[in-house]
Symmetry: C3
Subunit: 436 residues, 3 copies
């Protein structure tokens, strides 16, 4: 390509009016995943932090969408906001979008560009919520909101531009012949992998909960306080994911209407295979299936499907989910025992690792030559560029807005400490000292 | 207009087949708001009234839709049921619809008229539920159902006809050059303002809960018994509102497909700005953010967006939400301390005031000349016509079906008194005498 | 018909692109019914089985969809997989579908056939979950999964083929002039009636819970442990049902877009009439309305609407729902007292009987001659063919995978026994010995 010619926007295609209407309807259903994930975050924590957990989810959603509307969307760009490039090695690298601040020209953009931004606007809220559950019971509300602002202003938008806004990852195909460029139709990369890696940054920064890793003996099991929230949340997430994966298939994988039913089937099969795999693994490992871990498996199956549901066959989707479901309990245990990572919601594994696995699987199963390499480059970019930036920004933030609550606050619970009242004022709660 | 000529129905426009399908899909998603609001109503009350609260929500929905189908829809009319008029001051005033009873010709009406009636049929259920949470812990189930019947038979249908059925408020533009006539695309007027004002009538009639305002000292704080329900309900409401606001934009504001993504963005931004505003206000006021009040703020932001999400820019929507979020905690406190209003769910403020604020804001930000005056006339009609009628009808009803439970019933809780059993038979509940 | 000519697939019609998009959007909303039903199943059981109840729901969904994708869908067939026939009495009987295993050609099938299979793929999960609530507190997880596999591999697919896949029940009209053939647009037959009858098989096989029918005196009331889950689940089910009934109307009743709003209205009216009927009956019977039974009534109204919402007028739908709502509390009591059936979730009545009632009502109210007879033949097939097969298969299964937990396991609760931990580890639960 002649470097003097301005970069055209991402691969142009025009949605039919029907596709626009369908995508819109699906995008308005997709935020059910926010409701489901909020319940998961709350249920995996302790009863004395449940109100703070849920208020945190709502606050983080609020901060994320506002910050993204103000600045993030401009960076992320869309198919009608070409982006800025630099030239290196004879190739143009489109690294940042060129949208206006404050969604200024949103209403006059082509409807397809509007839908792209709406997808990202809702997706950034989901991505920002992911780390919140990993910091449960010890991460301060204000710090959580600040981290969400950073995620929505910088982290997510750059990645979203690279992948969905016609950026350099999207153009790996056009520029280097690597398949169709980096593919992520449902948000596995910038929602889940980035969310899971920011969860990893958070658990490193805030450290484990008091009593989690006693000086002597094994780590303490700290079961979620409400398994019904956790498992019911999984079913709400299913509906949300069906919407994300199909809407994303239309917007980011140019899927025609006839490719969407199979995308839906694949989404359900991936979650189902993962749940049964985790069920089996935990039963073999502990003699009984572990309900919370099965929820994690189910969710890992959904997350893995985000990358590949639109690209694979039902049998392949079953396989992708099963691998995610086998890996989840093993990895959660490994992270806890080997790396002393205290991740109440398991988001590092469930969103981070399963997201990356889904992206890799999309490369395996895609028919195009070079797709696997494109996916590997994208994964490398997430691990090598996005993750260090997240970690550094969060560590920096931690200096100004300390992430970790003080020990007294942690002991009495986040609800009393941060909100002055609990989620269940009329219910009698166990005074289990081993939990204190 | 020649007074001899029959009034034509409301401004006619024809939906494309795509718009019909989209609106239908959105309307079937919208009742998620019923589920969310039911959880809010239950969560804001006491544990010993939780089953009655939820059974009341279901019963009220049932009564409202049946009564509306039987008589309300005839009064409300739609774009194919012109309505009846009288002549005053040289102008025709269309005051009542002319549909058949029992939805008799529903299936042969044009599909657009069907969708209009479907919107109202679902909206009346939402509007009727609003007052229920304000009467929590003391309002009898049968009286709640009777009030819902009155709301669905008379109150809602007249207003709906005036605003959505080609009635005199809708024709303020055509008849008097006031903008596009009174605008309410998402139900801020007859669902939320009317619902909130009927909540005000209820709290006046039933009076405060026992012990709420002791003879000496300040009012007693009576926190909701389940904050998770409240905050999770907010997220379900978000999905429901996205559907209401976009479906309403198509039906009542003739919004083209290209105007709907911004409507969705505005809905989310309004709720988010409101939540953060309430968060900040309560933190400044009490030292810590108040989780329940933040839920009220979020919901007030959604309610305000009902009127204007289809008409404003994202920045304006942020502003509308932020004002709603600042006002909510202040007004709730003012109503409680200055007017001794005991409103457990805060519906008077959250639905009533925020609904009116949204309608006003729609007038401010609409480009048409005279729109603000049209909105003010509509608001005056709600406050000057609808509210007195609601109050009188409810007060009259109270003579035949006493609203307030007897003191013994209130002491043992609505569940035991009205249903003979509680919502949580296996959980141990605090015997907090100060609550009794 | 000349028996030498191969059977053409089911009545062919072609969906418009708009109808395809709408149906897809509705089908992705429909699984909300899974979330609602899961909450109902958990809420009707005991607190000490709540985690097992929900994990069972997720596991059963997983098993059902995987088994259906692997083999069930091939048996069920669809409008592009004609099916196999035999000849008897001069007529061809299409008894089994001819799809490929493992959804192999799913992506190249016409989109309409894809949607048909997607409908069934999601519906089989709902049908398989129904029995789970009836076996609550004593049915082992692994046995529940095995039963779900049988249901999804054999029971559901054959029925689905007969009714929806162009099988002999669908062709009662073409072959014998019986109306439009057996009609079931929303799943009343193979989801609800078959689900409810498999629940009956389960309660017969596992027997009543310990202490339910003491040697002396009446049966013991064992109220559900969480009425909020139950009633809130009803509202989620409403949204799910709106989607099932409208999507089914398009796919199985060739309903045009203009017939869908009334289908939605009818769905809501049926549930509402049923709830109010149950409310009234239980109030007359016991002096106070019964909240859990009202939930059952509401659900029975939804189930009955599954068969006829697309075929009746609003007044008729009210009637159908009211009958379901009157019958539900009477039948639940009758089954418990006269037949000593211990059915915690009431699924035998709510799904089984109400499903059959809806199918019958569809015959009553359909305008076509012979439709009632077609419905009666279908009902006879469900009772005379499907039910015995379910019972025999489940009884056989029970020999290899015992359904019932051992007495010790039942006493300590399914959570501790099967999962090693409970749903509410931090909440204090009553030690009510009468429950033990």
């Amino acid at each position: 390509m002649n470097p003097a010619v301005p970069v055209p926007p991402a691969p142009v295609f025009t949605l039919s009016e029907t596709a626009v209407a369908l995508t819109l309807a699906l995008l308005l259903l997709a935020p059910l995943a926010l409701a489901g994930l909020a319940l998961l975050n709350a249920g995996f924590g302790r009863s004395r932090s449940a109100a703070q957990a849920l208020l945190g989810d709502l606050s983080i959603v609020s901060v994320a969408v506002i910050v993204f509307a103000a600045v993030g969307a401009a960076i992320a760009g869309n198919s009608s906001a070409a982006g800025h490039t630099f030239y290196l090695g004879g190739t143009s690298w489109n690294w940042i979008g060129s949208g206006p601040l404050f969604l200024k020209s949103f209403h006059i953009a082509p409807v397809q560009a509007q839908l792209e931004t709406l997808f990202q606007f809702l997706a950034v809220a989901l991505g920002a919520m992911i780390a919140w559950g990993s910091g449960a019971d010890r991460w301060r509300l204000s710090a959580g909101c600040a981290a969400a602002a950073v995620f929505a202003a910088v982290v997510f938008p750059f990645g979203a531009h690279w992948i969905w806004g016609g950026g350099w990852l999207a153009r790996l195909g056009a520029n280097f012949g690597l398949g169709a460029g980096f593919l992520d139709a449902g948000g596995a990369a910038m929602v889940h992998a980035a969310g899971g890696l920011s969860a990893l940054a958070v658990v490193w920064i805030v450290g484990p909960r008091r009593g989690k890793f006693p000086k002597e003996g094994f780590s303490t099991a700290m079961p979620g306080h409400q398994v019904v929230y956790v498992l019911f949340g999984c079913l709400l997430c299913l509906v949300g994911w069906l919407a994300w994966n199909t809407a994303g298939a239309v917007l980011w994988a140019q899927a025609p209407l006839t490719a969407l039913p199979i995308t839906a089937v694949n989404t359900v099969l991936s979650a189902s295979a993962a749940l049964l795999a985790t069920f089996t693994v935990t039963r073999l490992r502990f003699g009984k299936p572990d309900a919370s871990m099965c929820a994690n498996g189910w969710l890992a199956g959904l997350v893995a499907s985000s990358a590949c549901a639109a690209l694979v066959t039902p049998v392949e989707s079953f396989f992708v989910g099963a691998v995610a479901g086998i890996a989840t309990p093993l990895l959660v245990e490994l992270l806890e025992l080997a790396l002393s990572i205290d991740d109440p919601s398991g988001a590092v594994t469930v969103h981070g690792v399963a997201g990356l696995w889904g992206l890799l699987a999309a490369g395996f199963f895609a028919p195009q030559a070079g797709q696997l390499l494109a996916q590997l480059i994208g994964i490398a970019a997430i691990l090598g560029l996005i993750f260090p930036v997240v970690y550094l920004l969060f560590a920096l933030l931690n200096r100004f807005i300390p992430f970790r609550v003080d020990p007294d606050g942690e002991r009495i619970g986040m609800d009393l400490h941060e909100l002055g009242g609990g989620a269940y004022p009329e219910f009698v709660i166990h005074r289990d000292e081993s939990y204190r």
